[in-house]
């Protein structure tokens, strides 16, 4: 009994505030390592899903991490009820129906298309450089300006490349503030198509054909 009491007293003397703080730090370090391990597992799962089945099996955590990867985390709230499988079946209008802007919807579908069909080496799924899909708003406006007065009402539509390539007649009429008629909107879309085949005709087929008004799983190009 005396031996135990002696040992306990010695233990009390050893256990200073400094030692307790050391243990707290060690425990916290272990907890942090566990968090890091957990996160790594989420990333591994995301990479595995994307490499095996594209967007098909992205759900919950992995879908949100993918949104983060492609720089579209701001859409997380709007897309809270959407997973990878659902996204494959949506077009730009459907995505806009859940509160996303036309430009973001087109961008999301383009990156989704590239991720699903493994068309990018980067996690960010940047549009192919030097393609119309990679145009920013200024480049798009500049091109629309070259079409002359007939389409000057679309110069400030703030479309990026993906949006320009996802237009439907109603979307063009809406952007013109009603000043364009249906046949003019159709003509404008034809001009976009001609310009795309001129600029991107030599590149992989999908680059000049991709269209955000068609769901991802309905457009496969050789």
């Amino acid at each position: 009994m005396c031996v135990v009491a002696g040992e306990r007293k010695a233990l009390e003397e050893v256990q200073t505030t400094e030692l307790r703080e050391y243990h707290m730090m060690s425990e916290r370090h272990n907890a942090l390592l566990a968090i890091i391990h957990g996160c790594t597992q989420v990333f591994d799962s995301l990479a595995h899903c994307l490499s095996v089945s594209g967007l098909e099996d992205l759900r919950g955590d992995t879908f949100n991490e993918w949104l983060f990867d492609i720089g579209m985390r701001k859409l997380q709230t709007a897309l809270k009820d959407i997973n990878g499988r659902t996204l494959l079946m949506l077009n730009a209008s459907d995505v806009m129906g859940i509160g996303v802007s036309f430009s973001d919807a087109a961008d999301l579908l383009l990156r989704g298309y590239m991720a699903h069909y493994k068309l990018s080496d980067s996690k960010k799924c940047y549009p192919p450089p030097d393609s119309v899909l990679s145009w920013n708003e200024q480049q798009t406006s500049k091109w629309v300006r070259t079409l002359g007065d007939a389409y000057s009402c679309l110069v400030n539509a703030y479309w990026k490349g993906a949006a320009l390539c996802s237009l439907s007649p109603p979307r063009v009429i809406e952007a013109s503030g009603g000043s364009l008629k249906a046949d003019e909107a159709v003509s404008f879309i034809s001009l976009v198509r001609q310009m795309r085949s001129k600029v991107d005709g030599e590149k992989a087929t999908w680059i000049s054909k991709w269209n955000g008004s068609i769901p991802i799983d309905s457009q496969v190009y050789p």
Partner: protein, 102 residues
């Protein structure tokens, strides 16, 4: 220029001459130990915060001096010894109880 430091949280506010305000976070050992563990919903942000804290703690743990290292070892030995003695004592009383019951 105005400077304000809140020791408990480690927050520092710096009011610059042109009216801009900059916020800094100075991580102290005690502030870090009291702060909640990273729980960001996005794993990319969670891992970034956890790695930052883990690196800081790792550096602090590596700086531990010989005296504290000795006490860590000594504490381990004492805990093990006490546990062993407690087991022996329990066993001893168990044997005594059996003898008495006969």
């Amino acid at each position: 220029m105005l400077f304000s430091y809140h020791a408990a949280s480690g927050n520092i506010a710096l009011c610059l001459g042109d009216g801009r305000v900059q916020f800094w976070h100075y991580l102290t050992d005690s502030a870090l130990l009291q702060a909640p563990l990273p729980s960001h919903t996005i794993a990319h942000e969670r891992i970034k915060a956890a790695q930052k804290q883990a690196q800081y703690i790792q550096a602090s743990l590596e700086k531990v001096d010989g005296n504290l290292r000795y006490r860590v070892t000594r504490e381990k030995e004492l805990k093990s010894s006490i546990s062993e003695l407690d087991t022996k004592r329990t066993h001893f009383w168990h044997v005594i109880c059996i003898i008495i019951s006969y």
